[in-house]
């Protein structure tokens, strides 16, 4: 198979690759967001538990 032909997509390259690129970006962001949120939540809860422990002692 010819790669230049593959990327040209019969003249529809912009629309076809635009579709795959947009979907990839949105779906990857949806993976990154919960990973970052989990980190932030863990950090916040750790700080919170240190504060409450400090008050008890």
């Amino acid at each position: 198979m010819n790669w230049a032909e593959f990327f040209a997509m019969g003249g529809y390259g912009f629309y076809v690759w635009g579709t795959y690129a947009f979907a990839t970006v949105v779906l990857v962001l949806n993976v990154i967001a919960p990973l970052r949120r989990r980190k932030a939540v863990m950090k916040m809860l750790r700080e919170l538990s240190q504060i409450t422990r400090g008050q008890v002692e």
Partner: protein, 244 residues
């Protein structure tokens, strides 16, 4: 072992944590094979040439946009009736993923519409009802974020989700009820699907891949929310001490 056991946040948290890596691997496998078949193996369409390959993203995304909305509304309804915390958390986790798939369906539809119809956007019944779906997701998230108490926020958002369910059959039947530019269904129509197996296989693989992806992301989102909501319990405090 009873199924209700998984409705307990602590058991759900542990169980979903074990499940996520497997679901992630399954997502990669399904989407990998689906993309390979869709981009390299399936032949060009006799009418639309290579442009029809947009379908392998567009159609499964549109299916997901409606499927996730129904899951969100049903989870919201269960939360309203039985006051189950996990169903509220599930509904809340669905919204951003559903909004993402709706956005993908709209943008990829525009990218398909331009070469085939000559316009990125037309105010057609199918396109307009799908745009309303995006606004419903955004409204759900905005309403939820505007109320401080998480349980009250979940109840208000669930009512909005339930009212919006009326839009789902409108999207589905819009191509039959109104004269639209959008083509009618090829796969889900009564009788055999009017699509060749070499194109149907990647379409279904992408659709199943998106479903497993959705479950993976929703579980990831739910786990963080569970930690936040259960922060005063002993198991969360023990978890914070043991896990680095």
């Amino acid at each position: 072992m009873k199924i209700t056991k998984y409705a307990s946040p602590v058991i759900f948290y542990g169980f979903s944590g074990k499940l996520i890596p497997w679901l992630g691997a399954l997502t990669a496998l399904l989407l990998g094979v689906g993309l390979y078949l869709g981009l390299f193996v399936a032949p060009a369409d006799y009418q639309q040439g290579e442009s029809y390959r947009i379908m392998f993203i567009h159609v499964p995304s549109a299916w997901m946009s409606m499927f996730i909305y129904v899951v969100m509304a049903v989870a919201g309804a269960i939360g309203l009736v039985w006051k189950t915390k996990l169903s509220e958390i599930l509904a809340s986790a669905c919204a951003p993923v559903g909004a993402s798939f709706t956005l993908i369906a709209l943008v990829t539809g525009a990218l398909w519409g331009k070469p085939m119809w000559g316009a990125y956007w037309v105010w057609d019944a199918r396109l307009t009802s799908e745009l309303i779906l995006l606004f419903l997701y955004i409204g759900f998230m905005a309403l939820e974020a505007s109320i401080d108490d998480p349980r009250r926020a979940a109840r208000a958002a669930a009512v909005l989700a339930l009212v919006g369910v009326v839009n789902i059959p409108i999207i589905h039947f819009s191509v039959e009820w109104w004269n639209t530019l959008h083509q009618p269904a090829s796969v889900t129509k009564v009788g055999a699907p009017s699509i060749h197996p070499s194109m149907l296989a990647p379409l279904l693989l992408m659709a199943i891949g998106f479903k497993v992806y959705f479950v993976t992301i929703v579980l990831m989102r739910m786990r963080s929310t569970i930690l936040l909501r259960e922060k005063h319990t002993r198991w969360v405090n023990e978890l914070l001490e043991t896990k680095s």
